[in-house]
């Protein structure tokens, strides 16, 4: 069977055959086909199953509004569920499968749901499945979940790439039908910067599906000639396969370009799709209109489709779902399908026109005026329809295809994306764009309710002229060919009354009866209707369903359609692959990676790295024979405390602060005083938020009277900088202070341990005396190293040891660490990572991120005395609030296990020895815990109510999530060298 239902003509390339598979069977089609058109050409009407009742379904449309013909496309990691066969461009090797059925498509076991449909009326699940209570989760819900859902994802990672892109234009034209093409010609010829986007792979819109002529040319010829002219203009970008998916604030649009979906797979390094963000000065919506169906009993049989879709398949794709065709219409447009099919030599069994007097008369085919289609037969494919004649008698008409035309709905979707509401147009019996549109948007052609070709052309051209005029660009309307200009003649009809089930929302199986039931139960508001029945919530978002539902509800309430409500649309216009919205920011590329100056060297050493914000830092440096991380970390800590260790601390934020008011500025942003810090000295600073909570801490060095270098924690570097700019620009705009980040400009290493000075003396040029006398604790200065390289030296310590931080221009950071390691050999120097750094700071009792958690005051940190009351500083006033100064306020203290062999974990809570472990008895919690190789047992820092006064007390560190509990003693947070003798050595 090869393309048994292919007819003459069409815009397909018959010179090439494309092979594809559907449900395992191989078929042939041609370039220019969609999967749906190719299947229809091969006599396949049954393409899927509905969501709830598993009814057999075929396509009802030839476009993106399709609710029925959903397939799983491709296989393996590229499997793509819920793909509309009606828009899937055919390619050689395409592999598709129908979805949502158990057993073969033609014999779906879950079709039993259809037999049970009386029990599955709208909202039935809200009223049952409640008894016994446990059954919901154990039985009912799993059952419902398994039955629900449409297509499936494999659980493999999507292997394709997605790009993002950014485009700017004067005028964005959305839709490349007659209105869009006329607009683009007009704007393009005026020299404006134009983007013309269309979701189809061939531009032209309905021009490709109709038999109208434009001047002397066929519609499709005129369209392709126009596209060729536009494509040759450097100021016009024509984007096929591009769906404008949403209108966002201030003229920003999202658009999805399907770059490789019509290929077997993307070429190496090329994207599957591109998400474009388009910045448009003005936009013109030329999105056309969508035909809507009329509901009647069993109107979902495969073979029943929109009359315009039938016409599209015949004219554009030379494919037909059946040899005998009938039409059901309430307007003149339905007759076009009959005329076009006749011209193709197809048998038109009858046109059933619901209008008694307005139905056109012709002798070319039978017209049943004032008649209604009241039923359809053929479960897996239409075999005939039942017609109720005006006199009340019925007649059966044999046909394999029925075209239904209920009138056209302008595609107003994008006009609603900023909460605009469409308005009802009586003449069209449809909603048209309302008065409030997204800023800069106007609408032309069928989307604006101008349904004739001539009207579309002229409104498109006029729309472009006006939009450009807003931008100060003069344009004159492009000269346009003569075109069809028939008036709209319609008598609204949304459903045929009857006893059986008539489908409104085909995918979600919402019938006229369901809407009536919703009304009966008081779910009358459009939103309640939608939510109660699921009308319009399927993958097509009700493009062909919503108005019908509204019309039935209007009938029930006795109100007009606009009084009953309207339906607004939210982005995206059609569903968008999540991968495309993520672009390249996935997997390892989710966020960029920042590397430290010693990274290359550390990697050579086999260091284990850890993510610290965007930075990658060495966590520890395993040596041969070390099989557990603790071995490496303990060694690094012990060696540092015993002799000397080196650590890359470049990630700390560094902010250069200059200006005559720099000292006063620092005085205000730090809680403790800074104004009198001497040149050549460093001071620890505690920075508060205005609410009195600790924001950050670090050291600031005064290099000159008017020049400071501040360090921040790695995590807070960006936030502190922003805060400082706020203070500088918004609070004290006349202060002479300039700030700039220099974090990356300097490679900075901590050199710590009793031999730190001796090691550095081998590096630092002899002209600089770094003896304890010449360069005491908290000193700083500019020096040179290794024979003249300019460097900075700070005598500060995070580890509690005699320590320096030395900084050189970043490009020499690699060379410096190699030189220092070399120089350190005689001292058995080690390089240590963030773990050892953490251990040493806990041993020394320095607060870090776990303590600076955004809810800690200076008082909590044991630094209440640092908040100067003699000056204004950020946070000082509000830190005096009573709730922050209670007697039992949390205080930072140290903890050690009563039995040194026992350990405990950060995040454990503190409970009194004899108390029940519950929230009422919660005394605080442990923030940071590590094993101290110097002390030989686990130590911790933590916040304890009134902690400072409770040294020596024994508490329980409880950790119920890990079933652990340890007796701990409250001790000073300074486990090592509490007097600070080492760092002053």
């Amino acid at each position: 069977m090869s393309q048994s239902h292919r007819i003459d003509g069409g815009l397909i390339d018959r010179s090439r055959a494309l092979h594809f598979r559907f449900n395992g069977k191989t078929y042939q089609g041609h370039p220019g086909d969609t999967l749906a058109s190719a299947l229809l050409a091969n006599g396949v009407r049954l393409m899927g199953r509905s969501f709830k009742y598993h009814r057999p379904r075929g396509p009802i449309s030839a476009g993106s509004e399709e609710p029925n013909a959903l397939v799983e496309l491709r296989s393996g990691a590229r499997q793509e569920p819920n793909t509309r066969a009606t828009t899937a461009e055919l390619f050689d090797g395409l592999d598709a499968r129908s979805q949502n059925h158990v057993g073969p498509l033609s014999f779906d076991l879950l079709a039993v749901n259809d037999r049970l449909s009386p029990f599955f009326a709208a909202g039935f699940y809200y009223k049952t499945f409640m008894w016994p209570k446990a059954f919901w989760e154990k039985l009912y819900e799993p059952m419902i979940r398994r039955a629900a859902g449409l297509g499936s994802l494999t659980k493999e990672a999507d292997p394709d790439l997605y790009d993002k892109g950014f485009l700017h234009c004067d005028l964005l034209i959305i839709g490349g039908g007659p209105a869009g093409l006329a607009a683009a010609l007009t704007a393009g010829r005026a020299g404006a910067n134009v983007i013309l986007a269309d979701e189809d792979f061939v531009l032209g819109g309905r021009l490709n599906a109709e038999t109208f002529t434009l001047g002397d040319a066929s519609g499709s010829d005129w369209a392709s000639a126009t596209v060729a002219e536009l494509a040759a203009m450097p100021n016009v970008r024509v984007m096929a396969r591009t769906t404008v998916l949403g209108a966002f604030d201030h003229g920003i649009f999202g658009a999805l370009e399907r770059v490789s979906d019509h290929l077997l797979q993307p070429a190496a390094g090329k994207p599957r799709q591109i998400l474009w963000r388009i910045y448009a000065g003005r936009s013109l919506l030329c999105a056309g209109a969508t035909e809507r169906p009329i509901a009647f009993e069993n109107n979902d049989r495969p073979g029943i489709m929109l009359a315009s879709a039938l016409r599209s398949y015949a004219n554009r794709w030379a494919a037909l779902p059946g040899k005998e065709v009938a039409i059901f219409t309430n307007n003149d447009d339905g007759h076009r399908t009959a005329t076009d099919l006749l011209a193709k030599g197809i048998k038109v069994a009858a046109v059933i026109d619901s209008r008694k007097t307005d139905a056109p008369r012709t002798n070319r085919y039978e017209v049943l005026a004032g008649a209604l289609v009241s039923g359809a037969s053929g479960r897996l494919g239409l075999s005939g329809v039942e017609v109720r004649l005006p006199g009340g008698e019925t007649r059966t008409i044999a046909c394999q295809a029925l075209g239904v035309s209920g009138g056209w709905n302008p595609n107003v979707h994008l006009t609603c994306h900023q909460r605009g509401r469409p308005v009802w147009d009586e003449a069209l019996a449809a909603f048209v764009p309302g008065g409030v549109l997204p800023a800069g948007m106007s609408v032309a052609g069928a989307a604006a309710g101008t349904l004739s070709t001539a009207g579309a052309l002229s409104s498109g051209a006029a729309g472009a002229v006006k939009a450009l005029a807003d931008l100060g660009i003069r344009a004159k309307p492009a000269d346009l060919p003569e075109a069809e200009d028939a008036p709209v003649r319609i008598a609204p009809l949304f459903h045929v009354p009857g006893k059986g089930r008539a489908w409104l929302d085909q995918q979600n199986d919402v019938t006229v009866k369901d809407v009536k039931l919703a009304h009966q139960e008081g779910y009358v508001s459009v939103e309640h209707l939608k939510r109660y029945t699921t009308l319009g919530m399927a993958t097509d978002q009700g493009k062909t369903a919503n108005i019908g539902g509204l019309a039935v509800m209007a009938e029930m309430t006795g109100k007009s359609i606009p009084e009953t409500g309207t339906t607004i649309f939210r982005p995206p216009y059609t569903p968008v692959a999540i991968g495309a919205l993520a672009g390249r920011s996935a997997g390892k590329d989710f966020r960029p990676t920042r590397l430290t100056p010693s990274h290359k060297w550390a990697a050579e050493q086999g260091a284990v790295f850890v993510e610290v914000g965007m930075w990658l830092r060495a966590q520890w440096f395993p040596r041969p024979g070390e099989t557990h991380w603790r071995q490496s970390v303990d060694r690094e800590v012990l060696a540092t405390r015993k002799s000397v260790g080196i650590c890359d601390v470049t990630t700390l934020g560094k902010i250069d602060v200059q200006g005559t008011d720099a000292a006063e500025f620092l005085n205000r942003i730090y809680a403790n005083p800074f104004a009198k810090l001497a040149v050549g000295k460093v001071r620890y600073g505690l920075m508060l938020r205005e609410d009195g909570m600790a924001m950050d801490d670090g050291t600031t060095a005064r290099l000159a009277e008017d020049h400071f270098v501040m360090t921040t924690t790695t995590a807070n570097a960006v936030g502190v900088y922003r805060h400082m700019e706020f203070c500088r620009q918004c609070l004290w705009p006349d202060m002479d202070v300039q700030i700039i980040s220099t974090t990356e400009a300097w490679a900075q290493y901590s050199v710590a341990g009793p031999n730190a000075r001796r090691l550095l003396q081998k590096i630092i040029d002899p002209a600089f005396d770094i003896s304890n006398e010449a360069f005491p604790y908290m000193g700083c200065g500019e020096i040179t190293v290794c024979g003249g390289l300019r460097a900075r030296l700070f005598r500060i310590s995070f580890s509690g040891e005699l320590a320096f931080e030395i900084a050189v221009p970043t490009r020499y950071g690699d060379a410096l660490i190699r030189r220092m390691v070399e120089a350190g050999k005689e001292f058995d120097a080690v390089v240590y990572g963030t773990e050892a750094l953490g251990v040493m700071r806990i041993e020394k009792g320095h607060a870090a991120g776990n303590e600076l958690n955004g809810t800690s005051t200076a008082l909590n940190l044991g630094m209440g005395g640092m908040v100067s009351k003699k000056k204004d500083s950020i946070g000082s006033t509000l830190s005096e609030r009573e709730g922050l100064n209670r007697e039992d306020a949390l205080g930072l203290v140290g903890f050690r296990p009563v039995n040194p062999a026992e350990t405990f974990a950060a995040g454990s809570h503190l409970i009194g020895k004899g108390d029940v472990a519950n929230a009422a008895n919660d005394q605080g919690y442990l923030t940071s815990v590590c094993f101290s190789p110097n002390l030989g047992y686990t130590i911790g820092l933590g916040y304890l109510k009134n902690g400072a006064a409770r040294k020596g007390e024994v508490l329980r560190a409880v950790n119920p999530v890990q079933n652990a509990e340890t007796l701990v003693e409250v001790v000073s947070a300074h486990f090592v060298d509490p007097e600070g003798e080492r760092l002053r050595a």
């Binding site: 008894w131 629900a148 996935a586």
Partner: protein, 417 residues
């Protein structure tokens, strides 16, 4: 009318002729003992509990549009009680317990689905923080489990364990957390309240408060003046607008937009709710098959009920980086809701300085899961003039006194909570 499996069966066989409106559509009376402004989840729950627990039936709920049209109708349906701080945890656990008996309480299947809420951690510090939180939960008698990487892998093997920018180091699981069919919550409370005599009045917008000598006597509405013994405002998202009508112009609250997303329907993929700790992304799968997901608020004051692309992209980046299998699933629909973002990320249920006027708001984006407890506690306050024991910290004056309940530690910056 009570719903039951038998009733559904009977109606199916007799053409569904017997179903009655789910709630009445009464005309407003001249006076009620209690007027609740706002027919969202919290307002309806307040009315339900006022009637059911406190035996007050002279109650009206005034809704300017259709009930359930606020945040209860536009959220990501998650329920959980995995809070850290004393001020919050007992309240949210109270809420969780009410969820667990809700359907039997109001005779409506809201599909409370306790399939677990898993928060992932990606650094040692995050794991420490989760341990602290999990232990706080356990000390409050709440279920919590700390998982290591392997534990997470067993639950969700499809997560990105192999090429993640931020590796998964474990997670905090609350097995009792889960999801609820959000619209059903509004409808269920409406039915519950209605059946106990509460008047639910839709399309009735409050246009002003009648305040004399420092006492609130009732509200002016588009359907006339309605007198009230006490007026409770539960309009989170619009708190600023509504309270301004009572002359309270500045609150510790900003209104922000939070977007949420749903994918096309898919066959079952996800075990429960999963929250990414290294990006802004959380996701669950609805009974219908859609992936329901979200991330951060857009970050600027807004009453627009719609957001912008950067946050959409940010959320999807998080999703793809965490579960790269969803690349070919399609985002079907995005929407925005207005959040009352408070200054510490925690809500307010309190009296105002105006006698007879009570306030419930500042829910940030935690309002949905709080619905039952919020309703109960607000009803408690309205009925007894005393805060419920689990809601004593939700006071207006906590900021003045320095008693903030700041779970995230972000301070007085609403868009960071």
């Amino acid at each position: 009318m009570r719903y039951s499996g038998f009733k559904v069966l009977k109606e199916a066989l007799t053409g569904h002729k017997g179903w009655q409106p789910a709630w009445r559509d009464p005309a407003p009376k001249a006076h009620y003992d209690f007027v609740v402004v706002g027919g969202g989840g919290h307002g309806l729950a307040t009315a339900h509990y006022l009637a059911k627990v406190f035996g007050r039936s002279s109650v009206a709920v005034l809704e300017k549009g259709w009930i359930g049209g606020g945040n209860v109708g536009r959220n990501t349906t998650i329920i959980r009680s995995n809070y850290l701080l004393d001020g919050n945890e007992p309240f949210y656990e109270f809420s969780m317990k009410l969820w667990e008996g809700l359907e039997q309480d109001f005779n409506f299947n809201a599909m409370v689905s306790q399939r677990g809420v898993l928060n992932l951690c990606h650094t040692d510090a995050q794991r420490d923080a989760f341990r602290r939180r999990g232990n706080a939960m356990r000390l409050n008698g709440v279920d919590a489990e700390l998982l290591d990487t392997e534990g997470v892998r067993r639950m969700a093997p499809f997560l990105n364990f192999d090429s993640a920018r931020f590796p998964i180091k474990g997670g905090l699981l609350q097995p009792r957390g889960g999801t609820v069919r959000h619209d059903a919550v509004a409808w269920g409370y409406a039915r519950g309240a209605d059946s106990r005599g509460v008047d639910i009045i839709q399309n009735c917008e409050v246009t002003g408060f009648r305040i004399e000598n420092g006492k609130c006597l009732g509200v002016d509405t588009t359907r006339g003046f309605i007198g009230a013994g006490k007026v409770g405002v539960a309009v989170a998202g619009s708190s600023g607008r509504v309270m301004a009508m009572a002359g309270i112009n500045r609150l510790p609250i900003e209104s922000h937009v939070l977007q949420a997303f749903v994918s096309e329907g898919l066959k079952p993929l996800l075990p429960g709710v999963i929250t990414y700790g290294a990006g802004h992304f959380y996701v669950s799968q609805s009974d219908k098959g859609g992936l329901v997901f979200g991330g951060d608020i857009d970050g600027y004051n807004s009453y627009a009920q719609r957001g912008n692309l950067p946050v959409v992209e940010d959320v999807c980046e998080g999703g793809m980086s965490l579960m790269p299998m969803i690349g070919r699933a399609r985002l079907l629909r995005m929407w925005g809701g207005i959040m009352d973002m408070s200054m510490d990320g925690s809500p307010i249920i309190d009296r105002t300085d105006i006698d007879g006027l009570y306030f419930n708001g500042g829910w940030c984006y935690g309002g949905f899961k709080a619905t039952p407890a919020s309703g109960w506690c607000f009803a408690h306050l309205l009925a007894t003039d005393r805060p419920h024991e689990t809601a004593t910290a939700y006071r207006f004056d906590r900021f003045r006194k320095g008693l903030m309940i700041d779970e995230k530690g972000m301070g007085a910056q609403p868009n960071l909570h």
